[in-house]
Symmetry: D2
Subunit: 262 residues, 4 copies
């Protein structure tokens, strides 16, 4: 092995002529034996999940596929498609936008849930203190409330599923407890802010043992489905160089009036 | 509806406060009822696949997740992660590279298979003519041969599965026939060039009725798993600003010798 | 030199500890001696331009910096900034959209102008034939007409400058002649379609000897200024997760009515 | 004006049929009257710089164009080009990588210089305290030292130019003083860590009154030149799907040995 080969060392894939092994398993054994969610788990964590764990992961991958062209990631992917970009470039454009603000709430909520569970305090007290601290600095608790939905329709099926997984012993339930404690504290405010999809998926990901950063990566895998569907729908429409507004409209100008160079 | 609202019209998602419907189905009905591959199908095509169709799609999504850091898409995602980019930006960097050359062979193979089936000729004769035409212009037939693998280990499990789906009536089998005809013609050359993963997935996607462009989109969904795993592995390593070579090595310089400005 | 070092061979930059040479010139000699446009020329072509050539290039880099948020590249960069992305990620998002349709007209026009000049025919006749061929297949001649401006205000200053450069012998003028011939033929149509910025910059780039593909690259360098300005303006506004429409508006839904799973 | 038009309000560009005004100036007045660096300043800040200010900005735009394919941004752009991506997509890939770690040192150094100048303390004392604080937490001071160059060859011409601009009254010199104070403190360490290009450009940008975030944006405009040159050089080479290592080399595998599914 040369220094350059070591520079690119990886524990994920072992490729040699005629052979592809991922995390030690031959690809021909994996095809047909593991599902897409199991493969996601294997690739990111190095081992295979149980069927029950994979089922929980699959719920989250299904839940977050799309929120329409009002989402900037989807709109950007559609605009890219209207500029003639291939589907991969249009999808990349959308994925790029799923940063801290648009795609990071799940990751941030996972960090919050972990901090509650790791606090050593009873979760109720820890949740009360955390909400007070957020309120004091005028911040939203990530994973709760939605700027569009009074109650996010994805919350209940996800939280029901994870509650069942606690009941049957698939997961331990400490993060579910923390998330529900937070929701209870937040329900006492001026306006209830129930858990949203980011909060519900964060709860599941914490229970399944994913690192917070991976929460964002899993969201990308899910939302990429919507990006593909929207880029493809746009690709099949005649509009080209699609701006945010139809051509008859023009962004309002708020700058200096016409002037001449000095 | 205003003109601006019409400008962003879509048949995919119908979002109103408290409600998310995808292709007409309420998201709370979909979660737990459909798998990730079924959701991919629903979103891109507007209707739900049968279980057997979804199983075939899932095989392809599992098969193509990774080919190691030797692939430029994976290397670019790892370099992005080493530059401190968040996982979504690193994944977007990799997805962007899956263009015509690195991610388009499946799409191109689908077009080839369609042209054979639509030719009106017996597929054997059509395949012979097509291979001759490619040979004459010195081009490779997309989906056949691999620059690294003498025989791609993903070919057999995929082609076995689609053969079984033909046998049980899940799909018709015309594209399988065309792909095998091409492979047979190519086996008669100086060096056999068996079907590779792009050819095998193209065959399955054609049988399932996907448009060729979607072949690339589905590949992106699959390869995104590997991009995530590699970006995450790199994120957890101490190397920063990772170039293609270790710092002790330096790209060979082939330009003009030192010179001074005129 | 190892094989890996040769793999990354380049004729552009020669870097060793304490030394950076670009195309053979020491960076400390270049700083303060060459302008940005001269550096662009040196880096892409390997030699330094004359002052007159650099001045023409600078005109084009100034002319194309922005066309407002109605342009999808600019809108996407602004949306990215509103999602909290750093300026480089927001700029990359916009640059990604400058593909064949949104950023390729200049390159395509350069190919048209070259084909006229290389046709061996008198340019008038060649232009007439070319316009007829485009008309027959219902296509626009790239670089002429603008979907928004009846007459592009950037045409005249650019074409005046290149005409002066022909007069003083800086450039030969064959591509100017071809572009004006095309414009003259197109003026005879139902609706005059004067040269737009892509046509005018394409004329200048052809006269300066740039390859057509570089036409797009130079446009990217110019438009990146607008992308930066708009991403920065957006960054300083409070809006987060900015979709194409304000929250009170909602994209029109055109898909199937509410339905239940089978 | 509709709400949607207000949603896209901007103070930068005022576009109407036949008219393009940037920051109030007609584009036809700007073309030929202002240089590229002046345009960069006008677009990002709303007013025109003096000739002396523009000349300082131009130095920085020239200085940072390239650091060879060893830089991950350049390598990623070259890999993208080898995958057949158009130049804009290849450039976007490289720009995307210029994040906090690979492209943010200048911005971070600007924040450091501002904190010294705004500290109210004599800069010498403030610099000593800052270096001690960085040392205590084991961090590098951004803008000083280079992992490859013992002394960055771009430092001297840039710092000489800004010193002259202080002498002739173009700028005030407080940030120059702070930067030199930092360099002097750092010279007293175990290993001297002279200012690098990020430190020198940060000093100039602070003197010119740019916001720190714009430091990164200006670096992107400069480095985009190198990205274009490298993507174009790669485009003209026959290598396709260029990974980090030549095909004969293979990344070292460090994961689990071959295993079978449970």
């Amino acid at each position: 092995m040369t220094e350059a080969e070591d520079w690119w060392a990886t524990a994920i894939s072992d490729i040699s002529p005629g052979s592809i092994r991922l995390r030690g398993y031959a690809i021909e054994d994996l095809i047909g034996s593991v599902s897409y969610p199991q493969m996601v788990w294997l690739m990111t964590r190095g081992s295979l999940p149980s069927a029950a764990e994979a089922a929980l992961l699959e719920l989250t991958l299904v839940a977050a596929v799309d929120h329409g062209p009002q989402a900037p990631s989807v709109a950007a992917a559609r605009m890219a498609a209207s500029c003639g970009l291939d589907l991969n470039n249009a999808m990349a454009t959308g994925v790029n936008l799923l940063g801290d603000v648009h795609g990071g709430a799940g990751q941030q909520c996972m960090e919050v849930l972990r901090s509650l569970v790791d606090s050593g305090q009873p979760v109720g007290a820890a949740a009360t203190a955390l909400v007070a601290a957020y309120k004091e600095r005028g911040a939203y608790v990530p994973g709760f409330g939605h700027r569009f939905h009074p109650r996010d329709p994805r919350r209940d099926p996800l939280m029901t599923a994870i509650a069942e997984a606690v009941a049957d012993g698939t997961v331990e339930g400490r993060y579910v407890e923390a998330a529900l404690a937070l929701e209870a504290v937040l329900a006492g405010g001026a306006r209830p802010v129930p858990m949203n999809i980011d909060g519900a998926t964060a709860t599941i990901y914490c229970e399944l043992g994913f690192a917070p950063e991976l929460g964002r990566g899993l969201f990308v895998l899910s939302r990429s489905v919507g990006l593909l569907a929207h880029a493809w729908e746009q690709h099949n429409e005649p509009t080209r160089i699609k701006g945010p507004l139809p051509r008859s409209a023009n962004p309002t100008y708020t700058g200096p009036p016409p002037r001449t160079l000095p």
